[in-house]
Symmetry: C2
């Protein structure tokens, strides 16, 4: 860890980024740098094609098109909730896998939306003009939100177009990202969870690795597979050591350019608080899953998500608790501040930006717990409550002009909102009661039994009693009921005596209040301050740098490479299918599925399985295509190694690695384990159509 | 928090301690200071009597004698595990309460040992002579351990005498504490858990409070109630606002005088690690308890302990994450270092003490997780494993000379060891499997699936599979089997194929190895360095100060007082019995027991119930008598307020409060709720016998 952050320190000071660092936007990709290092220079055509063959799952993953007929490749863990939602107590596709024999067998996922980035427009001037002269606060917040809603609405010409104004460089730039939107996304194939996540939590973020973490989806338009002009052909040979490779995907978020006081709040309060919540819920759900096979099945997607988040957050906290790293960050900030101070014009323009951020963090700390409880989902951990809240707020918000609504209720965002509210995904009473009881207990524990809101919520009831009464009394599991309430608007909601609607209404004023305090007294001043800091950064260091990740499309370059651990252990970059059989113990999570045991003789054990590369990625990149210079898909990104967990705050090319399934493993196992002939022939179709 | 630590800062710099700060040893009590502040000067007789009327529960609590016939008062939560151990699925004394109608009905607690401090001797010279010239390391460690074992053995003339060499002032002094030891301790009375811990986790560490957290025990000698010459008569009126009060008890441990790097390790690694472990186990046990009434009953003592520890540790972590506090500590250390450096002789004698500690912490960090897993109980969380380990180690250690053994196997410590190994306390299979499965999972997660020890422990089995096999296959639940193995010694243990014995033997070498590394490369150099720092501290500031708490008898003085919160809310120092009825909701944890509801008309609602005082206490003080100048017991300490949680690192007289049950509430409810006539007449007996 020490060495990692020594490296980070230097990288942060020396610009542009060295090594293979960087999650680059497509409109500012350092092609010349790639040429200098690897001898290949991606041109505009290559970049456009790569961008258009890439995709995003709006819920938080990446993906790519792999045939001209709307076939999409992503991770199993990205489609995990869909696979679970399509399963029943009798037919568990998570455990058994799923394979649509014909097009008719492809089943629609209730909650997956897929986006293809078709255009980027710089709208910085428009956004800044709308907030000109306003200090970070209420007026700034409202003006910015209104202008963003206007821009997005003008752009979104139909439900099949998604438009997001994206904040880049912490406010240095505002870009309008325009997507082709697909909401009819169907499940085509997925392997058994046991091989998709072979090694389970112990092997997660580790390498060598043996995971077949894939799923195939297909986007439909008007009930037919969509035509997709841009797609990646799959390389039958897969990647080799030292190959130049690109990752085109959607890193969710990084914090490499935030202020020290933001990192400190993260270290001292936000991350520990989140970890403790997840730890307790993890223990609870693990035990919940032991009471019956069905409880295990219905809790597994949540538990999977929690375990993954937990490990990732622990890695981040370790970085924040590393004194050498924090010192290097502090010094880098001090150098930057000095540079600004030394230039009178810059100093005047930047103003007290860092002090503003420090003050905002001080303002945030005492309301952080309340904010997380009421608006961060911790106090009411329940799908039904979530739906009730969306309905209640939609009732209020949709009566307002577009520009004045909470951001997620703006006109351009309604398609997503409706997909969620009208979703046919199952909701399980027992699981709802368990997570609701837990979260209400945490709510009372955190805010105190005498907090007026807690008293209003619980009255004389225990959390368990209230949770049971809510789940038993609600009708919100019925999509038709939700639809009627949504369409009935505010009046229908105020008239409803559904217990979840009543609860969501009862806590809405207090919840909105803490959100407003956060947005106006923390978020807005920080944004304003970062706009100024980013301007100074551009003035001093130019714009040949990449912005922190924001769940928008980025391109990273690198090469296939293992690494050397501090203790001298050399980790090679590729594993083989034979290795999976060697690691298997016959017990979860090291238990190979029956299909694999049956197919062992047919499988070529020497086929490469998983691969490590030097690309700079982060959570959200799951499902990204790993592409070679020829534009072939050579792998499917599904993880980073353990050292990559500090990637939120910095990149160490010596040890930070991306982990992917090779295309060769995908083709070999589709063919010889799953007999997925229809799929294989679609994937192996001549590239001429490309 | 900010203000608290501003105060701490100044207190740390200005010596002797101001306000009511201090957990004073009885041989260095600041009677003159008390006289100056409160007009009463405790003399030698008063101090001796108070010391001898005080007691310690060796498992981690305080207590006092309250009659000449061995009657002992402590908290319900201090006897909670005994009350649970005496219960069955059919008769749950935790839920129902316990009252011995006659002496014959008093039942022996399987694992309670009670100690009465009869003598203190300074053995600093002897200990230092044994380690003279040795740098902190292996030789130092062995020499010190050997000398301590020799001193203790010479002192411990029988099983009824307990002798501990205690390290005070982080190594500035070594004292020999000699106790009268009672192992026949019987349960006399305890109320229902619902009123002992009314308000549960939400109200824990909070005030106003309404807890009747008491239990009565009795010490026996030769099958008869022991005669106890020194005891506290119980005040029928209880404490009043502003009364001078003393707490005589056994604070478990504080870290007010440790080095900055020790605090930082605590903040960055130790406390977060412990909290995360507890959080997950808490979630697990909460859900475990929901599967049946019996599961709830058998998991409740563990869960109670975990919830309490969790809240306490969270309070401590908040203090460590407070930048103002840490800065004040850092500055205080810098001032002290400067003072030392300015004095050539002192500087030479102190040497690089702080650097030594810093280096030891750096050495500790990479082995901390392994140390906690293998020696801190986290990797094998199981009563049966604990017993197996003690047996295996006893087999090896008892063959060695007394001075060369691990400290807990020295001759003077054997009575405790035997009490544990031969305990008749029940062990529950389901609970064993649950906690063992959990801890083995954490072991694998923490050390990695490829760690050789993890592979040796699990083989191809899953944690759950191994846990079930161990619990099913063992005979260690049978006390006779344990006795035979203990008496059979190493040979019998090596011949045993009991699966827990086999496991404990299999991991012993690796476990001892990490313990040795810790003791020789972390603990020993830190001790040596602190000896030097303490010497410098005495030279510069004198000895009129108190040492950090070490679970040895201390006396604290203070007064009955409420406090004012930062938001201006005034918290009065006393609650009433009527208040409990007002706070009750009829639902756990705010549900009054039936006995209270039935007795409501007989109770005087105006009787004071719980009380807050300014005494400086910490965990371990639970069960301490709250005594007035006249030597009457006016209360029974059971908690601190929320601000007291930072007391590990500093004391803020403005807000840090001790919380106790008043003697008036005890007498009122024994009389009118529990009809405990025998007990009341013993407590109200004329004081002439005193």
């Amino acid at each position: 860890m020490r060495n990692l952050f020594a490296a980070v320190c230097c990288l942060a000071l020396a610009r542009p980024a060295l090594a293979d660092e960087g999650m680059w936007t497509f409109d500012n990709f350092p092609s010349a740098q790639v040429k200098a290092r690897y001898g290949f220079e991606p041109d505009a055509k290559w970049l456009d094609h790569t961008r258009l063959a890439s995709a995003r799952l709006a819920g938080g993953c990446s993906a790519s098109f792999v045939s001209p007929n709307g076939l999409v490749l992503t991770n199993h863990h990205c489609a995990h909730s869909c696979i679970e939602q399509l399963s029943t107590a009798k037919r568990d596709f998570v455990a058994e896998g799923f394979l649509a024999k014909t097009e008719k067998d492809e089943v629609r996922c209730p909650e997956i939306e897929l986006n293809q980035l078709v255009g980027i427009e710089d709208v910085t001037d428009r956004v800044l003009a709308a907030t000109k002269g306003l200090a970070g606060g209420k007026a700034f917040n409202e003006a910015q939100r209104g202008e963003m809603a206007r821009i997005e609405k003008q752009c979104a010409t139909g439900d099949d177009v998604r438009c997001d104004v994206v904040t880049l460089y912490q406010g240095g730039r505002y870009h309008l990202y325009k997507y082709r939107r697909f909401q009819d996304v169907r499940l085509v194939a997925a392997p058994e969870f046991a091989i998709a996540f072979f090694g389970g939590d112990p092997d997660n973020f580790n390498f060598p690795r043996y995971d077949l973490d894939f799923s195939f989806l297909r986007v439909y338009e008007n009930g037919k597979p969509a035509k997709t002009e841009h797609w990646f052909p799959m390389s039958p040979t897969g990647p080799k050591d030292s190959d130049l490779v690109f990752v085109s995907g959607h890193p969710g978020g990084t914090n490499r350019k935030v202020a020290m006081s933001e990192l400190e709040l993260e270290r001292d309060a936000r991350t520990p608080g989140r970890l403790l919540y997840l730890a307790e819920l993890r223990g609870l759900l693990t035990e919940f899953g032991k009471s019956s096979a069905e409880h295990k099945r219905i809790s597994s997607p949540s538990l999977f998500y929690i375990e993954n988040s937990f490990k990732a957050l622990q890695g981040r906290l370790a970085a924040l608790n590393d004194a050498v790293f924090m010192t290097s960050k502090r010094e880098a900030e001090a150098v930057f501040k000095k540079q600004v101070a030394a230039d009178a014009a810059l100093a005047a323009a930047t103003g007290p930006a860092w002090d503003t951020i420090d003050a905002a963090m001080k303002r945030y700390r005492p309301i952080l717990d309340r904010h997380m409880m009421l608006e961060g989902g911790r106090g009411f951990n329940s799908d039904l409550f979530g739906l009730a809240r969306v309905l209640v707020r939609a009732g209020d918000e949709l009566e307002k002009p577009n520009e004045q609504r909470l951001r997620e209720y703006a006109d351009a965002r309604l398609p997503q909102l409706k997909q969620r509210v009208f979703s046919s995904a199952p909701i399980y009473d027992d699981l709802e009661v368990a997570t609701l009881d837990f979260s209400l207990t945490v709510l009372r524990r955190t805010l105190g039994a005498d907090d007026p809101l807690v008293k209003k919520v619980l009255g004389e009831r225990s959390p368990d009693e209230l949770a049971r009464a809510l789940v038993k009394g609600t009708k919100l599991k019925d999509v038709a009921v939700r639809k009627a309430l949504f369409e009935g608007g505010r009046k229908a909601l105020e008239a409803s005596n559904d217990p979840f609607i009543v609860l969501a209404r009862a806590v809405d004023a207090e919840s909105r209040a803490v959100r407003t305090t956060y947005e106006e007294e923390v978020e807005a001043p920080v944004k304003r301050a970062h706009e100024a800091i980013a301007k100074a950064d551009f003035a001093l260091h130019g714009t040949s740098t990449y912005p922190d990740a924001t769940f928008t499309l980025r391109l990273s370059y690198g090469q296939v490479a293992g690494w050397t651990e501090d203790d001298g252990r050399v980790v090679p970059p590729l594993t083989t299918i034979a290795g999976a059989f060697e690691r298997a113990t016959g017990r979860d999570p090291f238990k190979l599925p029956k299909s694999w045991l049956a197919a062992r003789a047919q499988l070529d054990g020497k086929t490469s399985f998983d691969v490590a590369t030097t690309n700079d990625i982060i959570g959200g990149n799951s499902g990204s295509p790993l592409v070679n210079a020829a534009g072939e898909l050579v792998g499917l990104v599904f993880d980073g190694n353990i050292h990559s967990l500090a990637g939120d705050y910095g990149f160490d090319a010596r040890k930070n690695r991306t982990v992917a399934v090779t295309s060769s493993a995908l083709l070999e196992t589709l063919d010889h384990v799953y007999g997925a002939k229809r799929l294989v022939s679609e994937l192996r179709a001549p590239v001429a159509t490309k």
